[in-house]
């Protein structure tokens, strides 16, 4: 663990030998890692490597078969309902309601996280202002360009000020310009002490992460800063590192 030792005292995520089996098949095989508060943690792996299953366990959607873990200070096995109040989540599928307006989406998600009317109003103003969406506040989300929608979905996933935000391939299908903007938003969120747990298919994006883990067949095969990983595998790019591990 070489990442910024000062911060490492406060972990957002700590898992130890976390395992998930579906019958005979072991989807996630004894993974152990720690994520520091305010860290941008890249969670990489080929399709079917067990990323989604691992993430489902961390977000309280799926019960681990064995192992233990703490997310946002709560136990993943017993207190998963409490975890849900402290995390934000944005999935690979677009995760807002297209047939609701921008404002209605913010109000709905604020509402289900138990925000008061006043808090919702403040959040709505802040989000509309930050994303420069005031003019389209009463337009249906379906009418916005994809890049705007993704930014909005990210902002809404943090409407209740969560400690950790899980982003499941958040930049899928958007153009490089928008991806850049999106990563700026991620940096800003992390700058406020928020932990970002992000999966991605774009290996150039892995370079933006503080640390990166790479999953192969249910196990974490590598975990370090992008620079150290490249050194370790003698590669120029993260893409190379990834290919060497996956093959």
């Amino acid at each position: 663990m070489k990442f910024n030792p000062a911060d490492m005292q406060a972990y957002s995520i700590e898992v130890d030998h976390l395992t998930k089996k579906f019958g005979q098949f072991t989807a996630v095989d004894q993974i152990s890692f720690k994520v520091a508060k305010g860290e941008i943690f890249g969670f990489l792996g080929a399709n079917g490597a067990g990323k989604t299953t691992a993430m489902r366990m961390l977000t309280g959607l799926s019960k681990p078969t064995s192992g233990s873990g703490m997310v946002a200070g709560f136990d993943v096995i017993h207190d998963y309902e409490k975890i849900k109040t402290r995390i934000g989540y944005m999935s690979q599928k677009f995760s807002l309601y297209e047939d609701l307006t921008v404002k209605q989406n913010i109000r709905f998600f604020g509402g289900i996280y138990g925000l008061s009317k006043q808090e919702i109003r403040q959040k709505t103003d802040a989000i509309l202002h930050d994303l420069r969406l005031s003019e389209v506040a009463s337009k249906l989300v379906a009418s916005l360009p994809l890049g705007w929608k993704q930014r909005l979905a990210f902002a809404i996933s943090m409407v209740h000020d969560p400690d950790i935000v899980f982003l499941d391939e958040p930049t899928g299908g958007v153009d490089p310009m928008v991806r850049r903007e999106f990563w700026e938003a991620i940096y800003e969120a992390a700058g406020h002490g928020r932990t970002i747990f992000v999966t991605t298919h774009y290996l150039d994006e892995a370079e933006y992460c503080d640390r990166v883990s790479i999953m192969v067949a249910g196990k974490i095969e590598a975990l370090d800063t992008p620079a150290n990983l490249k050194k370790q595998f003698g590669s120029q790019t993260m893409n190379d590192v990834f290919l060497k591990l996956v093959r």
């Binding site: 599928k93 609701l100 709905f108 998600f109 604020g110 509402g111 289900i112 249906l140």
Partner: protein
């Protein structure tokens, strides 16, 4: 928690109001279905075209023809001159019925020999053909009685019939209860399974499950608006039945509405069960249409009488909620009975609710593991 629930319901209302197709199904369909069943699908006929092949061509035979048309139900289309022309009218679709009067019709009629009249109908539409022949037969008997004052046989059995609960045999008395049962099923079961499947298909279900909302609240929030809407529809159909077609509610209105709610809950639990087994809207739609709507329309006793069905189909009809609900509706609306007469049907619906919810809960748990 109530605040959270309200936010959820509000979102569902936005969904419903914004989707024209949903609105059309919710309010257009019940109205259309009642009106179509009421005005278009009926075995009653007016101005049926009748061709007449009159071999007798005398005073009596033309009197009979006049008698037939006097009712307003028959309209003489053509006077035929030969047997060969009989089928022409049917082939071109201009004729509904042909009446053949033999040469010695009047002679037979006044001389105690049985007078004969032949009726030819188009059997390719059996219901219509039956109705026409029945009616023509009544008219001819009537004519005979008029012409021939004293009865041919003094020892006749006079049959007097009385149709209880529906004296005029109005078809509305049957289709209003049937339509309520179907519409409530479509809205409660199909619409809820669709709306839950939509959240899954669009990926928003993940977001809801990751949020602190308890899964039970998600399901309740999805079904509650549809429960209320289907209840409104039930009332709408009852009102239309009463004011447009004169279908009464002779029993207790309160009991009727309570049992409508029981049936709505049965259908909703069925809808959530369907949604747990389907990942896409199309999937949910197919399951609802084939597994629910078709059997409920055909096998609930709404269109075809249960007693004349083959045994296998009768068994199937016993597992369809609509079968029991139609019985309940007819009991309360037409026969005016109280709960004690329909307690069996009500118990079956309650049992079904428990069974469907248990199955749903099991499926749901498996998904979470």
């Amino acid at each position: 928690m109530i605040k959270v629930f309200r936010a959820f319901i509000q979102k569902e209302i936005y969904h419903i109001l914004r989707d024209r197709r949903t609105l059309l199904i919710l309010f257009g369909m019940p109205v259309a279905q009642v009106l179509i069943f009421g005005f278009a699908v009926t075995n009653e006929f007016k101005n049926a075209n009748i061709d007449i092949l009159d071999h007798a061509k005398d005073q009596t035979s033309s009197k009979l023809v006049r008698h037939m048309t006097s009712s307003g139900h028959f309209n003489v289309n053509r006077m035929l001159v030969s047997e060969k022309q009989v089928e022409e009218g049917f082939r071109s679709g201009k004729t509904d019925l042909v009446m053949v009067i033999p040469t010695d019709f009047s002679k037979d009629l006044y001389t105690y020999d049985p007078a004969q009249v032949q009726l030819i109908a188009d059997g390719s539409d059996p219901n219509m053909a039956n109705a026409l022949v029945q009616y023509a037969r009544v008219m001819i008997n009537d004519f005979q009685q008029q012409e021939y004052k004293e009865p041919a046989n003094p020892y006749q059995v006079n049959i007097e019939t009385r149709m209880l609960y529906n004296p005029l045999l109005e078809s509305a008395y049957n289709f209003i209860p049937g339509t309520i049962a179907l519409i409530l099923l479509i809205i409660s079961a199909m619409m809820t399974s669709l709306t839950i499947a939509r959240e899954k298909e669009q990926g928003t279900m993940e977001i809801l499950l990751v949020s602190p909302l308890p899964p039970l609240l998600i399901i309740l929030g999805k079904v509650a608006p549809y429960a209320i809407l289907s209840f409104i529809d039930a009332v709408l159909i009852l009102v239309m039945g009463y004011f447009i077609f004169g279908v009464p509610v002779t029993g207790s209105l309160v009991l009727l509405l309570c049992l409508c709610m029981v049936y709505v809950i049965t259908a909703l639990s069925l809808g959530t069960l369907i949604s747990t087994t389907s990942e896409t809207q199309q999937d949910a739609m197919m399951k609802s249409l084939i597994g629910l709507l078709m059997p409920s329309t055909l096998l609930s006793g709404f269109i075809f009488p249960l007693t004349s069905m083959p045994e296998v189909l009768q068994y199937i009809s016993h597992i369809i909620p609509a079968t029991y609900f139609i019985e309940i509706l007819k009991g309360i609306m037409l026969r005016g009975v109280g709960l004690e007469y329909i307690i069996f049907e009500v118990s079956v619906l309650l049992f079904m609710i428990v069974a469907f919810l248990t199955l749903t809960w099991k499926k749901f748990k498996i998904r979470l593991e």
